[in-house]
Symmetry: C2
Subunit: 187 residues, 2 copies
Amino acid sequence: MGIAITELENCTLATIRRDQPCSAYEVRQVFARSSTPNWSGSTGAIYPVIKRLLGRGLIRVEPQAGDRRARQNLTVTDEGEQAVRAWVTTIEPWASHATPDPIRTRVSYLGQLASNAQRIAFVKHAYAATERTLKDLRHEVDALKAGPSPEFLAGLGALRQLEARLVWLREAASLYEAAEDSNGAAS
Amino acid sequence: MGIAITELENCTLATIRRDQPCSAYEVRQVFARSSTPNWSGSTGAIYPVIKRLLGRGLIRVEPQAGDRRARQNLTVTDEGEQAVRAWVTTIEPWASHATPDPIRTRVSYLGQLASNAQRIAFVKHAYAATERTLKDLRHEVDALKAGPSPEFLAGLGALRQLEARLVWLREAASLYEAAEDSNGAAS
DNA sequence: GGCTCCATGTAAGGAGTTACATGATTCA
DNA sequence: TGAATCATGTAACTCCTTACATGGAGCC
């Protein structure tokens, strides 16, 4: 389809489709209150997105009878429905890659530190930070009903990612400690 | 300190520290050729970053004797060394969160599809795509010497993330299939 | 002489962010 | 009546991208 449509535009469209009729304000809350935030849900992003979706005929504003408040009642058009289904089922090549992780980034520069002891200290620090985040997220996911609901599955995916980071950080610590030991044995 | 320094600026600084003396061009290659790319290594990003790092006194340009080519010889100053160490060892609260994942995003909107059969089809599609990516990455990591080298550890971290996605997608498929079965039993 | 790689840089644009500005509604 | 929340929107800015522009060095 001609002009590229961004992830935020697609997520906005899909959110409207799910919660319709809804307002731009409600869409903002969805993004702002997400426990694994992709976007801030800032007004400067959402309102222009809504305008573009309207301009492309993917959504429409339904006037509310007897309510002259500014609140918009957004619903998706038939074209919008099609676009949502096309988007959720499509996986562009870049989308299957490993995602950038600030902690992995830092580990990739641990060579800059002076000693393995310092590297081990960092890895343990990262482990503790990830454990705290994981604990909070687990509380949120536990509050959801286990099953194939989208919210539960998405939460589970985030949990599995954090658990994998813990596994990896333990591996890293082991490798550094093994190197420490062999240094100690050699000296 | 004072003014915020971005991840790209910090990564550039740490890369120069690691490979010094090196040129902006070499830094670009590092980012452009990364197997888990955070940034494109575009000229429009790197050269301004180099300028800012120079302006802050974190790096300096060493003139090359007898070589009047435009090539810069960048090295890190003492302040730069401090900044690198401070950055790699610091984990801001946001840095320990689960990272945005386009596949998880799509799963979180699978409610938009018409049937569990379609959802299962998507999950299997995502599984296959991730498996392909994982295979390529595994080849690259296998080419590295196993051990506590930063490159190997970073690659291992990316592998573990992708493996966790596979585990999660299998779980999702199971949950959908269980729901299918109970539907079948009920009807 | 032309091709490719090395190397530096600018210009324009995309896609978000924060901060600002405005006003209605609800509730203590 | 004043504060919090609901609700929409604009302006300025950040940070990165692609595309463009330039030129030297090595090689066939």
